[in-house]
């Protein structure tokens, strides 16, 4: 009732309106009763005195000065009655008896104070006893002022005293309460007054307890300062609550700690991955190489001005991180050795002697002569020979070495290519000449190191007479720049994906925290209300909560980081000790890594803090929202009544959100997994996994089938001229098979030392083939115009040019093809002479027929469009073989390429046909191969199947590991929130359930109803996710259609304005659009959302799994939660009442 209403009623009552008195009686009867019972402590006496109070009020209403002071006046009557009663009592009994009576009354139950329903019995008792221990007048003042919310003038009137006196009483009362509470705190220890201590009580580690205590001291002092001394009381209450509700504390911390640990671990995994990636950059190529065009001003400027580039800039030769190769090969060919031209001196004869090229000596700044000491990176030698700089190249070994040398040092080639200088070898006695050929040669590795870019530039200008701006293609090393680019290209997307998952996980965790916090709030409501009543300010409360949750956040982060780092350390140890990986961890301090990959610790702490704070804020917000009752004209039906009685909207919203986010997160993770491990064919929608190894992934070969354990990867020389075919030095894979190699391989094949051998045609070299063979007239003309005379002549000849990939296999493998021949006949001799080839098909198709004459060719192009040089050989198809599905994989792998149709010959046949474009050679053997069986001048790496498998595992694990971790934790947290919701709903509705049961509702009916209600949540979550994805798909499909429309438009215009290149502007526009589109798609990273025909199955699968699990769990949990209600309805009802 409002004060104005009271005033009006009191005034009406004053004028004799009995109805007004009736209303005032109804309003104040209970309040006055409660007021009196707190003073006299006897329900009967209180009842009598209440009646007397109202009788007196009724009789003496004329004495009321104004309606405004009615409340104070009424209470003054009540207080007078109490005082009189106590005075009479004290006359009849001794003071001790009075004290006893007061004590006894204090303990009497129930003392029905309106807010006296705190869950925490201990807190309730302590507060009650503190208030009750006050003197009656103080107690009366406290009750009237705090409980009945009377003003000080009203209290003054009630106690028949002045306002100052009331203020003093209240002040003294507050002081007394504070003293009492402090006394209590003193018993339990002042420093144990924070929740952290409650947590730490369970830990045996003294260090932790000491740390917690220190924090508590700080907090207590701070709070006391901030709250004017009331901090102790608040902390006492807080500490008592948390120490009694350890499960709530654990539930509250669970989400944040788990999230913090997983975020920390996920980003540590990313750091490790990046670290390994950088390391692989070193190992794969021996150095970071940067090739740039002269118009790349950004890098040129960086080269000129950046004085802080760290690391080593290797201009000449190769170097590698921790694996510097000094030896390039051996010289055991008498012909080569005999033809080395010396300017002076001789070949070295013993260890410590060396022969070096004159140019190398110039570049080294060595101006001595034969017989002098010379110090190189490889050691100190005696110079016994200087190789003639004008005549080398006569040695076959040196020729091959020179190719490699020139290719790796294009700047040198650019500067000296017009002269005679092509290579700078040196020869020395091999360190262990008893096992290896006497002489080794090398390329002067690490001939000079530079400390910064400017030094490189000065060196080229000053020492080499370089006059240009900066070389258009200089090999140099700038790790930070490379790392930055690598980060942008490779890792930015991964970090973004991980961050998105982290955000989803944080949202889900927040839901879990909200659910727990709501419970905690409702549990603490009673004691907090009581504190407010005895005078705690809202500010003090806020300070308490802020301090409490900040400490919890700090503890949660520390624990989470510790767990996350420990889990990662376990993973790292597994990688190093079991998988034998290099010891490169996410704990690295390498600035390239730490500056480019987000800090695991900072991110984890931020996300963890966000969980607690957002959970707290939302829970606080939710607790203030009260859903208004709707007025219904007609009583609802049974079903609706039950539904309304059980409705708990905030929990339902939390549950639905949690499940929806899990569904989205799972689908998102599922998408990321697919887009990380493969791509989708635009036309068929078929998923094509990325080939992650050089073996087995295309389904053609399975290592385990034949037990081959060891193999070698031979990297051939980088630049080769074969016959008339010059291969582009700009491309990476332009190696060839030369006579020696072919002889060596043939010998190995013949003697059976090589079990399986193949040469694979490099895809990157056949860019033109489609144009010649299958292109339209416009394209043919375009290529024709871009070709050299030799190329034009070839196109004019009208010959068909076959660009099929060519495989080379040994005799044994070819003989195994006999059962699969569908036409013609296999003739090994004709294969070896190049007269015939075999067409090998892996599908039911007709490409060649036996006896068909074909021209086989290899092309070279300068400008990338036409044909500049080519070699052609005429041959015929001797046999057509179709390897069906039943054919052994090992055989397929040995005789085919990855194409559905390929041409097969022997190594001798390949030589005869001039097939020189093999990109690399894999040689499978159980035994080590002799050096001369491999292409000379190649690097050779020995590896094993198990190592490759470990690498593959790690690659996959690091790619999807952090995502999988996040999705898992996200699901865990979301499920926790959901499960908690099921239990909470039933707990919160225990009262309603018990009442329903008491009036005759069977438990079965209620259970069925709640189950149905719960099942609606997974259904809603699945529907939201389904709809959301469908919406995304529509948006992306629209973008896809735009792209297709643009493509069609471009094609139409190209046809209209033939020849093709005349519509270059259109083409450029198209390309620009394509790039924009691709960029957009790559940012989303879920390109297969576009594939309408398949999304149904792929998305529904994870959704159905989540949905199914949820439904089953919902049913089980609801059943389980219901068990607490049987069979005793009475106790459930009693428990439920307490919660209400």
């Amino acid at each position: 009732m409002e004060r104005a209403d009271i005033k009006a009623l009191a005034e009406s009552f004053g004028k004799g309106d009995k109805a007004a008195f009736e209303k005032l009686y109804q309003e104040f009867h209970e309040k006055v009763y409660f007021f009196i019972i707190r003073i006299v402590d006897s329900p009967d006496t209180a009842e009598d005195l209440t009646s007397e109070t109202f009788t007196t009020a009724f009789e003496h209403i004329s004495q009321l000065k104004s309606g405004e002071s009615f409340v104070g006046w009424l209470y003054s009557i009540a207080y007078s009655k109490c005082a009189k009663h106590l005075k009479e009592l004290s006359r009849n009994i001794s003071n001790d008896d009075l004290e006893y009576l007061l004590e006894a009354g204090r303990l009497n139950e129930p003392i029905l104070l309106p807010d006296d329903y705190a869950e925490n019995e201990e807190t309730k008792e302590q507060l009650k006893s503190i208030i009750d221990s006050l003197s009656p007048d103080m107690r009366a003042a406290v009750i009237m002022y705090y409980y009945d919310e009377m003003t000080i003038p009203e209290v003054a009137e009630a106690l028949e005293t002045n306002e100052n006196n009331v203020s003093q009483k209240l002040y003294k009362a507050r002081k007394r309460i504070k003293e009492k509470v402090e006394k209590l705190i003193g018993k339990d220890g002042l420093f144990a007054a924070v929740p952290m201590s409650a947590v730490l009580e369970n830990l045996s580690d003294g260090v932790w307890i000491a740390a917690g205590t220190a924090l508590a001291v700080g907090l207590t002092t701070g709070l006391n300062k901030a709250s004017g001394g009331i901090g102790d009381v608040l902390l006492y209450i807080t500490r008592k609550y948390w120490s009694k509700h350890k499960k709530s504390l654990a539930a509250l911390l669970f989400s944040g700690v788990l999230l913090c640990a997983v975020v920390c671990c996920a980003f540590l995994l990313q750091r490790a991955e990046f670290s390994r990636f950088l390391d692989e950059c070193y190992d794969a190529t021996g150095y970071y190489s940067f090739m740039w065009l002269s118009d790349d001003t950004e890098i040129l400027d960086a080269m000129r001005t950046d004085k802080t580039i760290e690391g080593t800039i290797n201009v000449l030769g190769k170097t590698g991180k921790g694996a510097i190769q000094y030896e390039y090969g051996y010289l055991d060919d008498p012909y080569s050795l005999a033809h080395i031209p010396f300017e002076s001196g001789r070949l070295p004869e013993k260890e410590g002697e060396i022969a070096i090229d004159r140019h190398a000596l110039d570049k080294l700044g060595f101006f001595g002569s034969v017989g002098d000491e010379i110090t190189l990176d490889t050691g100190t030698y005696t110079l016994v020979g200087i190789i003639d700089k004008d005549n080398y190249g006569h040695s076959r070994a040196f020729s091959r070495a020179a190719d490699e040398w020139v290719d790796d040092t294009n700047i040198y080639k650019q500067s000296y290519d017009n002269g005679d200088v092509k290579y700078i070898p040196m020869i020395y006695v091999s360190p262990d000449s008893s096992q290896t050929p006497l002489y080794s040669y090398t390329m002067l590795d690490n001939i000079r190191e530079f400390q910064n870019a400017d030094e490189v530039y000065r060196y080229f200008v000053d020492k080499l007479g370089y006059t240009g701006d900066m070389s258009p293609s200089l090999t140099w090393k700038n790790k930070s720049l490379d790392a930055e680019r690598s980060y942008k290209d490779e890792f930015a997307g991964k970090t973004r994906s991980t961050t998105i998952l982290c955000i989803i996980a944080t949202l889900i965790s927040s839901l879990s925290v909200i659910a727990v916090m709501r419970n905690i709030f409702s549990e603490r409501e009673g004691s907090l209300t009581m504190l407010r009543k005895v005078g705690m300010s809202k500010r003090s409360m806020r300070v308490m909560f802020a301090a409490e949750y900040l400490i919890l956040a700090a503890f949660q982060s520390a624990l989470g980081l510790g767990i996350g780092a420990s889990v990662y350390f376990g993973i790292y140890q597994f990688q190093v000790s079991v998988l034998e990986e290099l010891p490169l961890s996410g704990f690295t301090t390498d600035t390239l890594v730490t500056e480019n990959i987000a800090s695991p610790y900072l991110y984890a702490a931020i996300f963890s803090l966000a969980v607690l704070l957002s959970g707290y804020l939302f829970a606080a917000m939710l607790s203030h929202i009260r859903m208004p009752h709707r007025r219904n004209r007609k009583a609802a039906g049974l079903s609706r009544c039950i539904a309304r009685a059980f409705a708990n909207r905030s929990v339902t919203v939390i549950q639905t959100l949690a499940l929806t986010l899990i569904c989205f997160g799972t689908v998102f993770g599922y998408m990321l997994y697919y887009t990380t491990t493969g791509s989708f064919d635009n036309e068929t929608g078929k998923f094509i996994p990325y080939v992650t190894t050089k073996f087995g992934d295309n389904g053609m070969f399975d290592f385990e089938e034949d037990g081959v354990e060891e193999y070698y990867i031979a990297y051939p020389a980088q630049n080769t001229e074969l016959d008339n075919l010059r291969l582009s030095p700009q491309t990476e894979s332009t190696c060839g098979i030369d006579d020696t190699t072919a002889d060596g391989l043939d010998e190995a094949i013949t003697t059976g030392r090589l079990t399986h051998t193949f040469l694979q045609y490099d895809e990157r070299q056949n860019g033109l083939l489609y144009g010649i063979t299958f292109g339209d007239d416009d394209m043919r003309k375009f290529i024709y115009d871009s070709s050299s005379d030799e190329g034009k002549a070839f196109i004019d000849s009208g010959k068909y040019f076959y660009g099929y990939k060519t495989a080379v296999a040994n005799k044994a493998a070819i003989e195994q093809l006999e059962p699969y021949v569908i036409s013609g006949k296999i003739d090994i001799d004709k294969l070896a002479s190049g007269e015939q080839m075999i067409a090998v098909l892996t599908e039911d198709m007709e490409v060649f027929s036996s006896g068909e004459k074909i021209t086989l060719g290899s092309l070279y192009t300068d400008n990338g469009f036409g044909i500049d040089k080519l070699t052609t050989h005429d041959t015929e198809i001797g046999a057509v073989v179709r390897l069906n599905k039943d054919a052994p994989n090992i055989l397929k792998y040995a005789v085919t390429t990855s194409d559905r149709c390929s041409l097969l010959t022997t190594a001798q046949g390949a030589k005869a046909l001039g097939i020189g474009n093999a990109s690399y050679t894999e040689i499978f053997s159980r035994n080590a191969l002799p050096a001369n069986a491999l292409p000379l001048g190649t690097g050779m790496e020995k590896t094993s199947y198990s190592i490759e498998k470990h690498k593959l595992f790690l690659q996959n694990a690091s790619q999807i590991g952090s995502m999988a971790l996040l999705v898992t934790v996200m699901s865990l947290l979301g499920f926790a929130a959901y499960f908690n919701g099921i239990g909470m709903k039933i707990r919160l509705k225990e009262y309603q359930i018990s009442v329903m049961r008491a009036v005759g509702t069977p438990l079965k009916k209620l259970r069925r109803r709640l189950m149905l209600d719960s099942i609606r949540i997974p259904v809603a979550a699945a529907a939201f996710t389904f709809g959301g994805i469908k919406l995304m798909q529509r948006i992306m499909k629209s973008a896809y259609n735009d792209r297709q429309a643009l493509w069609q438009e471009s094609r139409d215009m190209a046809d209209k304005y033939s020849p093709y290149f005349q519509v270059e502007s259109m083409f450029n526009e198209f390309m620009q659009k394509m790039n924009e589109y691709n960029e957009r798609m790559s940012k989303i990273g879920v390109d297969y959302l576009l594939r309408n025909q398949m999304w149904f199955i792929r998305f529904v699968l994870p959704l159905m799994i989540v949905f199914g699990v949820m439904c089953v769990v919902t049913i089980l949990l609801t059943r389980r939660s219901f068990k607490m209600f049987t069979p005793d309805i009475a106790s459930s009802l009693s428990k439920g009442r307490k919660r209400q």
Partner: protein, 215 residues
């Protein structure tokens, strides 16, 4: 007629075992108005809960007109409560999310009764103008009257009241007692658990319980 034989109810096990009722034999005839009195913890509420089927006896039997309710499963017991017993509790126990009318009509809807005497009950209890309100909007007396209406809606033969006036002021308490007496006069069996001697005195028969025994 309600009859109990050797009715015993214990809570807990082992050393913490509490015997609330010990072998109570009791017969209450139809149309009686009985007060069960006793101190706190004497077992009077336990007896009422057992008679009403809200709790199951540890030992002994409870008969309603020769039907033993102790052997019933939850569904049967629920049906029994729905049709034969009406409960009135000290704390009213109205479902806060439902209006007074919905609370009152709940048992009738559960029993799938198409017709009921709701209107006459409303007017008899003088709550016709308050039935569209939610419990929080009603005074204690009004809530208790709504609770009695709910207990009456299916016209049960027995009314079980656990401290029906315990949470009411004196005047409301008197009104509730008057109502119960009227119902008893109309033939209903009324069993009231109370520790208030004044209330007990208004009943035709008083059964005192102490330490789980009928004194």
């Amino acid at each position: 007629m309600i009859k109990t034989e050797n009715l015993t109810r214990t809570y807990g096990k082992g050393e913490g075992k509490v015997v609330a009722l010990k072998g109570v034999d009791l017969t209450i005839n139809d149309g009686e108005m009985v007060a069960i009195i006793g101190k706190s913890g004497s077992g009077k509420s336990t007896l009422l809960n057992l008679i009403g089927g809200l709790d199951a006896p540890t030992e002994g039997k409870i008969f309603y007109n020769d039907t033993e309710i102790g052997r019933m499963n939850d569904t049967e017991l629920s049906k029994f409560r729905l049709n034969n017993v009406g409960f009135v509790f000290q704390f009213f126990d109205l479902i806060p999310e439902l209006t007074a009318e919905e609370n009152i009509l709940l048992p009738s809807k559960l029993a799938k009764k198409k017709e009921n005497n709701a209107d006459s009950i409303y007017s008899a209890l003088d709550i016709s103008d308050r039935i569209k309100h939610y419990p929080a909007e009603l005074s204690g007396g009004q809530q208790q009257r709504a609770a009695i209406a709910r207990a009456m809606i299916n016209s049960p033969d027995v009314l079980l009241c656990d401290e029906p006036t315990g949470n009411l002021d004196k005047r409301s308490g008197e009104e509730v007692m008057a109502l119960l007496k009227t119902l008893n006069e109309k033939g209903k069996t009324v069993i009231i658990v109370t520790h208030d001697a004044d209330i007990a005195e208004q009943c035709k028969r008083i059964i005192e319980i102490s330490d789980g025994h009928i004194v």
